[in-house]
């Protein structure tokens, strides 16, 4: 009977393979040897065979490949793994090796190979004891949706206890089923529903990929899922733009608040204000240099150390400027403008001579790098910290103005200088301290800005115009006006940018401010009172 003959032949061939296996070098060793060619297509083949082999060395080899720790010697064709503890092992056998020869080089990858490696690692680490590894594996399986990994996914799903890992594994399974050649229509529709529930941009991308080769019911379900995800994402994108506007507004506020104080109290147009910001940024650089060379462990606190130092440096320079130049130019706005403009050039050149004309690297501490997901929007840590920092500075400044003696004197001099003088307030001392305070806050702004912008002698130039825009728009001398003005301008800019582009967006904002000033020359929150000069 033909069926019986077939079965017998099949059984015989299995027996032959099982017994003949150890006689020649298996496919695993051949695949590992392929790495030694350091050729992109050979490496791709090798990854596929090694990952599917089930050999316990598969995971160490592929993770070493990802970390640039898989070394090959072109002459002896031997492949080594450099382990994390510094020791080396032979990749084909796992035996320890004394040292890797100097002529060995790393197996190179390109982007396509990196995707293959990610997918392979995803399949290999689905059952890892570490939760974070399992989640990452589930995500990479979701992206690569390789059919061969389905059994591993299902067994991982059965064993999984953690809720977020279970959801991730469920989505990975759905992704595989949606594109599997022999999945049933019911399975596919269920998969579409699971992916739709995930609802983010990757899900939308995957559902848009559902082609005409799928049954029409599935294609229709995918299309409607895409439409619903799109409308949810559109709402989130508006919220995201508002967040970007807030973060831009916080940067504008930090830069402008010192100017609002000096402009408000003294009526002095300080064109060197941007350079105070720049000095604060360079102070941060200097602090980080000292920490880098002597106290390596303190790097994460470098910003905390830099803030008071920047305040003192910029504040001292501010007081110096006021006592030496501004004091003689009161009541002469044009001369003040020219003198402070010249001063800004002098400060820029001084910094250029001291530190060099090229940009300086200011590092981000570890707690300021990266981002997290809130719903469907990404919030980067550096911007979040800058927003919190700005609001803290603002509150401190308000408190200082409201509750301290100097604050009281500053407010009095702003409202009516002559009356304040008659009341016994030493107005010239208040002026010097106000200028120092405004410059000091600009210095603090420089610390924050060094995290998101290049630190160069021209740093101040990029912020001086924006600072004046905010102060003029918000109303001179009023802190709340500066706050509202800064955030309004930030949000307006960020909503215009996707529509008009960065360049036109900025132009549009300037035009809007000019038109606004025509209607309200004093700005949003103008100071009222008989003695306020026009």
């Amino acid at each position: 009977m033909p069926v019986l003959a077939c079965l017998r032949a099949f059984a015989l061939s299995i027996v032959l393979i099982v017994f003949a296996g150890p006689c020649f070098a298996g496919p695993f060793e051949d695949a590992v040897a392929k790495f030694a060619n350091d050729d992109f297509s050979d490496t791709e083949d090798a990854i596929g065979v090694v990952a599917a082999s089930g050999n316990p060395l598969a995971y160490p080899i592929i993770s070493a490949l990802q970390d640039e720790r898989l070394m090959v010697d072109a002459e002896t064709k031997k492949v080594y793994i450099k382990q994390l503890d510094g020791k080396a092992i032979d990749a084909a056998t796992g035996a320890a090796v004394d040292s890797i020869p100097d002529s060995a080089s790393t197996v190179s990858l390109n982007n396509r190979l990196r995707r293959t490696v990610d997918a392979a690692l995803g399949g290999l680490t689905l059952l890892s004891p570490d939760l974070a590894t399992r989640l990452a594996a589930a995500q990479s399986v979701f992206k690569s949706h390789e059919e061969a990994v389905l059994p591993t996914v299902e067994s991982a799903l059965a064993k999984e206890t953690n809720r977020s890992a279970k959801t991730a594994l469920g989505e990975a399974r759905a992704a595989i089923l949606l594109f599997k050649s022999d999945a049933s229509e019911v399975d596919r529709l269920e998969a579409v529903a699971t992916i739709k529930a995930r609802g983010d941009q990757e899900a939308m991308g995957m559902l848009s990929d559902v082609g005409s080769d799928q049954p029409p019911a599935v294609a229709k379900a995918a299309a409607s899922a895409v439409a619903s995800i799109q409308s949810t994402l559109a709402i989130w994108s508006t919220v995201q733009n508002a967040w970007y506007g807030l973060s831009l507004g916080s940067v504008l506020l930090l830069a402008a608040i010192g100017l609002a104080i000096t402009f408000g109290v003294m009526g002095v147009i300080n064109m060197a204000h941007g350079e105070m910001v720049m000095l604060g940024a360079y102070t941060t650089f200097a602090v980080q240099e000292v920490i880098r060379t002597r106290y390596g462990g303190l790097f994460d606190y470098s910003l905390l150390i830099a803030v008071p130092l920047a305040f003192l440096v910029s504040g001292a320079v501010g007081v110096l400027i006021e006592r030496s130049i501004i004091r003689f130019l009161y009541g002469r706005p044009l001369e003040t403008l020219l003198a402070t403009w010249g001063l800004s050039l002098v400060l820029q050149q001084a910094v250029r001579t001291m530190f060099g004309p090229t940009n300086r690297e200011v590092g981000n501490p570890s707690w300021m790098s990266g981002a997290f997901e809130l719903g469907h929007m990404t919030i980067t840590y550096n911007r979040l910290w800058i927003l919190c920092f700005t609001l803290a500075v603002f509150v401190l400044l308000l408190a200082m103005l409201r509750f301290t003696a100097l604050g009281l004197e500053m407010r009095a001099v702003t409202q009516n200088r002559r009356m304040a003088a008659s009341m016994g307030i030493a107005t010239s001392r208040v002026d010097a301290l106000t200028f120092g305070l405004g410059s000091g806050i600009a210095g603090i702004a420089g610390v924050a800005l060094s995290q998101i912008d290049n630190v160069s002698p021209n740093l101040g130039q990029s912020y001086i115009i924006d600072s004046f825009m905010v102060v003029v728009f918000g109303g001179v001398g009023n802190l709340w006006g500066t706050l509202v003005g800064a955030f309004t301008l930030g949000i307006a800019n960020k909503f215009l940018e996707p529509v008009a582009g960065a360049v036109l967006g900025k132009i549009a904002i300037l035009v809007l401010i000019i038109l606004f000033i025509q209607k309200r020359p004093r700005g949003l929150f103008a100071l009222k009172g008989r003695a306020v000069e026009a």
Partner: protein, 439 residues
């Protein structure tokens, strides 16, 4: 009354004093100039040493100083030593033209090596044409130009932009394109060429997103989020970046912060090399690409010798090398050869002698100066590694000759530059007419 008399009295003696001082200064400079002109051949260096482009251009100034030093050790040229005249146009485009004029008329340089941005080159072109001097321009640019007084040792679009797009289309199977650039002539023209090329390959208008930002732009949040959104429509997306200067630093940082990995949306940059990456942490950028005609990581004897001598000269064992530096090496050697051939530094003689000159490049080939004043260059595509170097993932077999006029654009596909035969930079081969400077 008293005041007026006083003013006249002081201004008279003040005027006399000023005149005497001016005369003395002029006399001294005239004297020193006359003396110096006999002894050395002056080479002008016109690169920004401050401002937004300093990050890229400062190392080119050091390269010319290094090359002059090496040449002087060999005895200089025509029996005279070379002397560098360095000026700083400070990333200020009109200042480039002023400084170029100063170099040619006051310092009497025989040749100028300089410029990076196309806007700086366009600013100095009228000066070089009027005063008939020579400019060696080492940077990749947008083409659409072939001037008699300029020698383009950097890549034309067919030696950088087009091969990069081909690589992404064929190897990475990219279907959607983001063309992001700084807002000036080079990115605008290059994107025009690339848009025409992509459409000729069947890419739909909806699959192309074009975006421009000002120099020094630092707030990339919205644009990077838009790229992420554009890239999640289900088709493989890539970014072709013509962003120039230090705006690249916050751009790459934002890409890293928002988690855009090269395996998802690769970014290929034309103006980011080893020098621009020297100041940032490149671990989040691993896999992003750059297209150049040279990489420091290419292992040839010529390149290893150059890197060793360069690091010894700058006394910095970590100092990087990059493509525009190699372009200056090739241009400088070609200029020396041409001067020695015609035994003179006269601009007209050297300009006529340069086409046909050959000089070795640092990647094992020999570059030749073509009649359109461009050179032949190999094309390499490299991926960023964790240490700031590049890993070459693709290279052309042979050297590609530079096309001054792009074949993709209507207004330029019939034009060629030919300063040997037709003595014209924009000769129309269909109508057999030289468009001249009227175009």
């Amino acid at each position: 009354m008293l005041t007026i008399n006083h003013d006249i009295a002081t201004s008279f003696s003040r005027r006399r004093w000023l005149a005497a001082a001016a005369g003395l200064v002029l006399g001294l400079t005239g004297f020193t100039n006359a003396k110096a002109a006999d002894d050395t051949i002056k080479v002008g260096v016109l690169h920004s040493l401050s401002g937004t482009m300093a990050i890229s251009e400062t190392t080119l100034k050091d390269t010319i100083l290094f090359l002059i030093d090496e040449q002087n050790k060999k005895g200089g040229v025509l029996g005279k030593k070379l002397e560098a005249v360095v000026v700083d146009p400070a990333s200020n485009w009109p200042l480039f033209a002023e400084k170029a004029r100063e170099l040619i008329t006051k310092d009497k340089v025989a040749v100028v090596f300089g410029c990076w941005t196309s806007v700086s080159r366009k600013s100095v072109l009228p000066v070089f044409k009027e005063l008939n001097s020579i400019l060696f321009y080492p940077v990749q640019y947008e083409g659409e130009e072939s001037e008699r007084n300029v020698f383009y040792t950097g890549a034309a679009p067919n030696q950088q932009a087009i091969p990069a797009v081909d690589y992404l289309m064929k190897q990475e199977k990219v279907k959607r394109w983001v063309l992001a650039g700084t807002d000036y002539v080079y990115p605008r023209t290059t994107n025009k060429i690339l848009e025409a090329y992509l459409k000729s390959k069947g890419v739909a208008q909806d699959d192309i997103m074009i975006n421009y930002t000002p120099f020094g732009h630092s707030d990339w949040q919205t644009i990077v989020a838009d790229i992420k959104k554009f890239g999640s429509a289900g088709k493989k997306t890539a970014v072709v970046s013509t962003i120039n200067g230090d705006a690249n630093v916050p751009f790459y940082k934002e890409l890293g912060n928002q988690g855009i990995k090269a395996t998802d949306i690769p970014v290929v940059a034309f103006s980011v090399g080893e020098e621009e990456l020297a100041g940032i942490d490149t671990k989040p950028l691993v896999g992003h690409l750059a297209a150049w005609n040279y990489f420091e990581s290419i292992k040839t004897p010529a390149n290893e010798k150059f890197i060793k001598e360069w690091q010894a000269y700058t006394k910095n064992p970590k100092r990087t090398t990059n493509d525009p530096m190699e372009a200056h090496v090739i241009g400088f050697n070609m200029w020396i050869k041409a001067v020695e051939k015609v035994k003179s530094t006269d601009a007209d003689k050297v300009i006529d002698a340069l086409p046909g000159t050959e000089a070795p490049n640092l990647t094992g080939g020999v570059s030749k100066m073509l009649p359109n004043h461009h050179i032949t260059k190999p094309v390499f595509i490299g991926e960023i590694k964790g240490d700031g170097q590049f890993n070459v993932v693709y290279k052309t077999k042979d050297l590609v000759p530079g096309d001054a006029w792009s074949k993709e654009l209507e207004g330029s596909k019939d034009l060629i530059g030919d300063w040997v035969g037709k003595k014209c930079g924009n000769y129309n081969v269909k109508t057999d007419k030289c468009l001249g400077s009227g175009s």
